[in-house]
Symmetry: C2
Subunit: 590 residues, 2 copies
């Protein structure tokens, strides 16, 4: 697929030295990811495309309008992120793009899975449009699992084959995003079969996601359609998938980093044609301080990979995975997306060019973007069932008297993400369960924020929370309002604030909000730039640490309600056993 639709006649005329090029970048050491060679060159550019790479001694008789001195630096292709969720950064696509550009990323292939769960197709369209407001290429894949687990929780949208097809037909959409219901694929369930059909009939890329799928299940998954994986966490699994024809996206995200194992899985193979790089989830602070795809390249180089090989994985191989014919290399007919770097080490580039334009210099984003504010986004926090502090009281089972047996969610061996349950006898006051006198206990409430009126309250001891409340509208995968609280007034303060601001995260004490980050876009994303978002997140995380102890991280908050985790979890509809994917009873009479 040619991603660029430029006037070929002008490009040919420029190559033939009949018209001027826009720019020549002179005096660079060209890193050729097509052949693995490095040599001095000058690069002529017109209309955002590379017209010609002139090796030393090759002159042109028509001087370009602008001569850019590469200062003897290496010219390497711009990096391509083969799989990421913009929402994980809590930034808009435009701000993510600006933050990634300075690190040499020139293309991102994103899965707007989170906003799709909240806002459906409108959310996908918003991401596509917003992505155009900055300089790097922002491609979108159609989320394949909205909701991730139908029936167990309420969310904002349902995508079947029809909806996925509608998205695939949008300009800028390049495939189906991580097909994570791998059980559904290898069991050939109708829903996944139909969704994949939409991709196949359009000859589009099918991105996989199959952690621990091996042997017959792996073969069946591949036969079902998906062709890639970024979830493998052990070397043998990586090797098996590559041998079986999968493309492996080496991943080092802000959450998971199995890069050492993943690299072991490719070591000793003669070719890495089917290996590229992704970040999956990258947090604002990491993006600000450590980088983006370059950070994974840096790690691979530190692990002993040849720099030019790591660069190829991050550029040409990524483009070939997507069949982007004109991205990922520096040669005639490729988009002029490249970086100038002093060393081949994965550190910050000196200059970054996209479409032949300088967009970042020494960490400063310099592109002249459309600065218009984003269109008014709807407030997606719609919770009629939360109308007063009393709505956070937990009803005791009918006819229970002074106490009841409650299934308390409890951390499993110190891991707050994977929860088990233990039955406790708890006092009941005025028909409501009480945790008075139980310092180790808190309430948690998951409230549907899409107007269904569902909510569910449980008792837990997962956090060392001593007082107040903390709440989030970022709560994977359905992003319902999730609040942890010692007192209902603080929970209510959080709810009031997030209803008002259209979502975000906040902490309250004594019935008053003491820290918040506003995420008005779908309750998932801030409108602020990377540095501010990073600071705001750090701020609220520190506040919550003051309530819950130093061990606490925001990640524990946002994955608490994830129904695909093993163990018990809570959704707006009930308590779930992740292994059986069934509801469990939460309370009974003593």
């Amino acid at each position: 697929m040619r991603t660029q639709k430029k006037d070929r006649s002008r490009l040919i005329a420029a190559a033939m030295q009949k018209i001027q090029c826009d720019m020549t970048v002179e005096n660079v050491q060209l890193v050729n990811v097509l052949t693995g060679e490095i040599y001095p060159a000058s690069v002529d550019i017109l209309d955002g495309m590379i017209v010609r790479v002139r090796e030393k001694g090759e002159e042109t008789s028509v001087k370009s309008k602008e001569i850019y001195d590469g200062g003897g630096k290496y010219m390497i292709p711009g990096f391509i992120d083969t799989h990421m969720h913009v929402e994980s950064s809590m930034m808009l696509p435009e701000n993510l793009g600006r933050a990634a550009a300075v690190w040499g990323t020139t293309t991102v292939c994103t899965d707007p899975h989170e906003i799709a769960n909240v806002m459906g197709i409108d959310g996908v369209r918003f991401m596509l449009e917003n992505g155009k407001k900055q300089a790097i290429r922002h491609y979108v894949l159609a989320p394949s699992s909205v909701p991730a687990v139908p029936a167990l929780e309420g969310n904002g949208a349902y995508f079947g084959a029809e909806e996925v097809g509608e998205i695939l037909d949008m300009d800028g959409v390049v495939g189906i995003a991580e097909i994570m219901d791998y059980v559904g694929v290898y069991n050939d369930c109708e829903r996944m079969h139909g969704i994949i059909d939409e991709g196949i009939k359009r000859n589009m890329f099918l991105q996989g996601h199959s952690p621990m799928a091996r042997g017959k299940e792996l073969a069946a998954y591949i036969l079902g359609g998906p062709k890639s994986d970024h979830e493998s966490s052990i070397a043998d699994e990586v090797r098996e998938k590559l041998r079986n024809g999968m493309h492996i996206n080496l991943r080092a995200s802000s959450i998971i980093d199995a890069l050492t194992e993943q690299k072991k899985g490719i070591d000793g193979q003669l070719w890495h044609d089917n290996v590229s790089i992704c970040t999956d989830d990258v947090h604002a602070k990491d993006l600000l301080e450590k980088g983006h795809i370059n950070a994974v390249v840096r790690k691979l180089i530190e692990m002993g990979m040849e720099p030019i090989e790591a660069i190829k994985l991050a550029s040409y191989n990524a483009a070939r995975e997507y069949n982007f014919e004109d991205l990922g290399a520096i040669a005639p007919g490729y988009a002029a997306d490249f970086q100038l770097v002093k060393r081949l080490d994965g550190n910050m580039p000196s200059e970054v060019f996209v479409d032949g334009r300088l967009v970042a210099e020494n960490g400063v984003y310099t592109a002249d973007d459309d600065k218009s504010p984003i269109a008014d986004m709807p407030n997606t926090v719609n919770m009629p069932q939360i109308a007063s502090p009393e709505d956070f009281l937990m009803k005791a089972p009918e006819g229970c008297g002074d106490s009841a047996k409650i299934l308390v969610l409890t951390r499993n061996g110190g891991n707050a993400a994977v929860k088990t349950g233990r039955w406790m006898e708890l006092p009941v006051k005025n028909g409501y369960v009480s945790i008075d006198g139980h310092d180790e206990l808190q309430f948690v409430c998951v409230a549907n924020r899409y107007g269904s009126g569902d909510k569910n309250i449980a008792v837990m001891d997962c956090f060392d929370m001593k007082e107040g409340a903390m709440a989030t509208t970022v709560s994977h995968d359905s992003h319902n309002f999730t609040v942890f609280y010692k007192d209902i007034d603080s929970a209510w303060a959080c709810a009031e604030r997030l209803k008002e601001t259209g979502g975000g995260m906040c902490a309250a004490k004594d019935g008053k909000v003491i820290s918040a980050i506003e995420l008005p876009v779908a309750g998932l994303m801030s409108t602020h730039a990377c540095k501010e978002v990073s600071d705001e997140i750090e701020n609220i995380e520190n506040t919550i640490k003051s309530l819950c102890g130093e061990e606490f991280t925001l990640l524990m908050l946002v994955v608490f309600s994830l129904p695909v985790l093993p163990g018990l979890t809570l959704t707006d509809r009930g308590m779930i056993d992740g292994m059986t994917q069934r509801f469990v009873q939460q309370s009974c009479l003593s």
Copy 2:
């Protein structure tokens, strides 16, 4: 692009061991071209697709209908020819396929350039249909240069953008064939621009052909669209093209073999992602005795290339060039096209499978083909201007008297393909030029065979022809009737025979045909199988050697009239200077 449209549900069910596979090939050393590894495996197959590759120790609970013992041999992917003209073998696609299959070729990508020049779109359609009558995959590319050189010669069809577009929409057509008017591309001529547009708008493969294009012309050619080259004959040219993003098809044909230089052009590069193999033109005798793609693989291995690398070039890299997602490797979801070989040396495989079926064993083609005769083909030899022996008399210039000055075509330093001219005073009898008494001279007549009535006669000394005549309807690129003769009765005998049989090659002496090969399909192809065609060609070549000396080869005959050669040449419309692409005067008064 998925080339196979199989029932995914059945394949998934087979992988999950819910239904039986058709066959398991056990006990092989799998050569994995995806990773460069070799290991013991069993391969399960259903509906012509690979369902699963089980490594040693991986069992299945559902036994396949058939167990095939691989006997410990290597299993390698079937080979793919990235560029060839079936017509060069003088065989039909069905017979070419059968002959190539025994050598491990399982896919050919063919350019029906020759039949298109004779029969236009009907010819292309015929090739597509006929190719289905045998077992290997026969893909067709739309010829881009019909005629090769408009205006200088008459042929049977004209392809502009509209005709190329019509062909691209046919099932089984996978791109535009070698875009050989490279001057037209880099000068951005309207015709080539329009033809290439048809490919780009359908997102189809654009095959290049740019001998000696370097520097700015090479960049302009690439920007014009084509992405590959098989014509490079020196190492630096190969290297330059690869650096500039072209895909190089290493070629060893029956006519041209610059493999040593081509290989030098890729030596020292870290990766060969963009290198594959083609045969371009392969003659029946070579196909019978030396092989097909395997013969190029063998040569590369003999030159020092790692066998597994050469095998990858001939399979996976070829498939990736065309973006055939499911060909070229042995893994779940790939078509079950493979070979069993005792050694990785490029010699004849023991067994060849296509679509999971055994199609050849130890050099014997075993597939159960549709044996129905081909549909009646039209006789394409239509020459109303050749109605009697006297039509081969060469008219002297008007008013010339007893003699005239004639521009005699003469071989250039012993090279019969590149011809110069020398003016000679020749006798004129009854208004006709005579070569009586000039043992070294012969006549040559090129007669339009598409009904235009054009013909052109010249005198030449290119062959050491002592008597009789020889004629061919295979005469690149327009395939007009071309006859070389000492006497008009022998020329007439040849013409009568070829008119009657619908074309071919023949030799005559004393007014009688003494040897012939019938090529009734478009005057280009025999209906016979490889061995017979090889014998028939050898027979007529030997007969002609008896007329012209041992130095003679049929190749000299069939390229005599090629107007793109440098030097002088003859077409049905006149004598051409290949360098200037202009007509030249052939005779004048003394």
